[in-house]
């Protein structure tokens, strides 16, 4: 039956099939040829460093050639100079394939990957709320993490963000009677 066959191919001791082999750095470099540099920070972590405009291409190759089928996280950070976004993917090989892009601070836009990887729909909304990165092409970048009274343009996880005493960020305005 199809499900049985699918599981055997994925491997895992529970069903007794042979485990799919972990990816090697060379395999990953070959799949990502032309997109950027590939390095291996440690066992089970292989990383591609590429650019914003090549991110979708990289993800496409990761899900096809490298058979990645699980988006672990879209890690994000503000380095002060720019924003870093790292797509963390894995698959039956159990290797974590990371695709790292740097997003310029003055133009924080990156193409959305919600159509390629449905869980990204929620993750991108969260990152937008907290860091202000715009995911171009996302079906609906509405608030998901911050409350509805949170003012526009205030991105709390940015390194240079401080609450403005003049603004109202949500909650109750007056004290207790």
């Amino acid at each position: 039956m199809a499900a049985e066959g699918a599981r055997a191919a994925r491997g895992g001791e529970a069903c007794g099939g042979d485990r799919v082999k972990a990816l090697t750095k060379d395999e990953v470099a070959k799949a990502f040829e032309g997109l950027g540099a590939v390095d291996q920070p440690r066992g089970n972590r292989i990383r591609l460093v590429t650019t914003v405009d090549r991110a979708r291409e990289a993800i496409g190759r990761a899900t096809t050639a490298l058979r990645c089928d699980h988006l672990i996280q879209m890690s994000s950070a503000d380095t002060g100079k720019a924003f870093d976004l790292v797509y963390q993917l894995t698959g039956p090989h159990r290797t974590v394939v990371s695709i790292a892009v740097e997003i310029p601070r003055d133009r924080p836009e990156v193409p959305s990957v919600a159509d390629l990887l449905p869980p990204a729909g929620i993750y991108e909304r969260g990152i937008h709320d907290l860091l202000g990165i715009v995911f171009v092409g996302h079906p609906g970048l509405k608030r998901i993490i911050l409350n509805e009274d949170w003012p526009e343009g205030e991105y709390p996880l940015r390194k240079d963000w401080k609450p403005d005493p003049a603004k109202f960020y949500g909650g109750v305005r007056e004290g207790v009677g």
């Binding site: 499900a3 699918a6 599981r7 994925r10 491997g11 895992g12 001791e13 529970a14 069903c15 920070p41 089970n44 972590r45 089928d69 699980h70 988006l71 672990i72 996280q73 890690s75 994000s76 950070a77 503000d78 790292v86 963390q88 894995t90 159990r94 974590v96 990371s98 990887l117 449905p118 869980p119 729909g121 929620i122 993750y123 969260g126 907290l130 608030r143 998901i144 993490i145 911050l146 409350n147 509805e148 709390p156 996880l157």
Partner: protein, 393 residues
């Protein structure tokens, strides 16, 4: 031990968390689900950048009171990785024991909640009563029933005496017996079968496509389990199995969790019986060298991830947390389309959400006109009534 039937009143409070969703429904059938999870956002990631490695651990413990050990463990092991620190084996074993006890308390809690959602309050009382034994073990081993505070960068903070080990081992046979009873119940009890089978179904492809993790995904045959895929703590030393199922519905998720309860009992027993001698901690350096770590952990609800960047200081420069519940929400929204409103409590409960619920649910008809609001209690009561009328349970 003789069975005791506990008299319970007809009402119990809704469990937990403020998740808001808007349900677009055509009569009883759900068309679409929209989600808002801001109720529980506190700003922890930002605070973590300002607290050093000692002070940030109590904060991370309280990201979630049910899986607090998961958050602290995944963080401290990430920092230990950044510092290239090898912690003593005894500390790894102690962390593993607490981790599996946490999984047990969480799954027993879940079983009770799931039973409560379908009106099966006797099972709720039984599982929570048995859960108290796990809490006793945790309290003896770590000093607290909840928020154990056992972790620190470099090891664990408390040791296990032989007397404690024996006391814990003595409790395990009774727990195993109760868990065997719940396993039998899960596969045979009529109300549970009727409310759980066929509900919230996700095929293996859908589970992968929508990013489901943990028991939710494993119930659809996806055999990802971070303890095997990216091994940590003492899991490589202990004989245990990943539990999967291929029903893909809430029934499957129940079977997976009950199976995991059995596995966890065995892991705890093995670790207690084979506890290595030695130190429980090593002194870490004050600062962590510059680096980037993706630390993964299999929390009771699924894969928990901490992305940590360190920068030669005693604080994390960036901590990015992705909780398993956030990963599972997309699959909830998808699996509820086409189901009945009455199935919402069960399907949502089946991913074992770890947020906080005062759940206000707005019901909107397909043209967008608001037809009503319901509280979680009302929705649960609706679910119970709906199935009682339809199936006579």
């Amino acid at each position: 031990m003789p069975e005791v039937v506990i008299p319970i009143g007809p009402q119990h409070p809704a469990l937990k968390e403020p998740v808001n969703f808007k349900v677009v429904a055509d009569g009883e059938i759900i068309v679409r689900l929209e989600l808002d999870v801001s109720y529980n956002h506190r700003g922890i990631e930002k605070a973590a950048e300002q607290r050093d490695f000692v002070r940030v651990v109590p904060l991370l413990e309280r990201v979630c009171g049910i899986c607090s050990h998961s958050h602290t463990t995944v963080f401290v092991k990430g920092i230990e990785e950044a510092m290239k620190l090898e912690i003593p084996r005894r500390a790894q074993y102690i962390r593993t024991i607490v981790a599996e006890l946490e999984r047990m308390h969480s799954h027993l809690l879940w079983l009770g909640v799931a039973a409560h959602e379908i009106g099966f309050n006797t099972l709720f009382m039984w599982t929570w009563r048995d859960r108290e034994l796990v809490q006793d073990m945790l309290e003896e081993l770590t000093g607290n029933r909840v928020n154990y505070g056992i972790n620190e960068v470099g090891g664990v903070r408390r040791d296990l005496t032989p007397a404690l080990v024996k006391a814990s081992l003595d409790r395990l046979p009774y727990l195993a017996e109760r868990i065997a009873k719940y396993t039998a119940m899960a596969s045979k009890q009529r109300t549970m079968l009727l409310r759980f089978q066929g509900v919230g179904k996700l095929t293996e492809a859908e589970a992968l496509k929508y990013g489901a993790v943990g028991p939710t995904a494993r119930a659809s045959g996806v055999d990802y389990d971070v303890r095997k895929d990216d091994p940590y703590l003492s899991y490589p030393d202990v004989p245990w199995k990943v539990v999967t199922d291929d029903h893909g519905d809430v029934f499957g998720r129940t079977l997976v969790r009950v199976g995991e309860l059995v596995e966890s009992t065995n892991i705890v027993r093995h670790c207690l019986e084979n506890l290595p001698e030695g130190a429980i901690r090593i002194q870490p350096p004050r600062a962590a060298p510059k680096g980037e770590v993706l630390s993964r952990y299999e929390a009771p609800r699924g894969e928990l991830v901490h992305f940590i960047r360190t920068n030669n200081t005693d604080k994390a420069e960036r901590l990015d947390i992705r909780t398993p519940t956030l990963a599972n929400w997309t699959s909830v929204a998808v699996s509820l389309v086409g189901q009945n409103l009455a199935d919402i409590p069960v399907v949502v409960a089946a991913i074992d959400p770890c947020l906080s619920c005062t759940s206000r649910i707005t019901i909107v008809d397909p043209e967008g006109a608001e037809t009503g609001t319901m509280t979680w209690d009302e929705l649960r009561a609706h679910g119970i009534r709906f199935y009682r009328e339809r199936e006579g349970i």
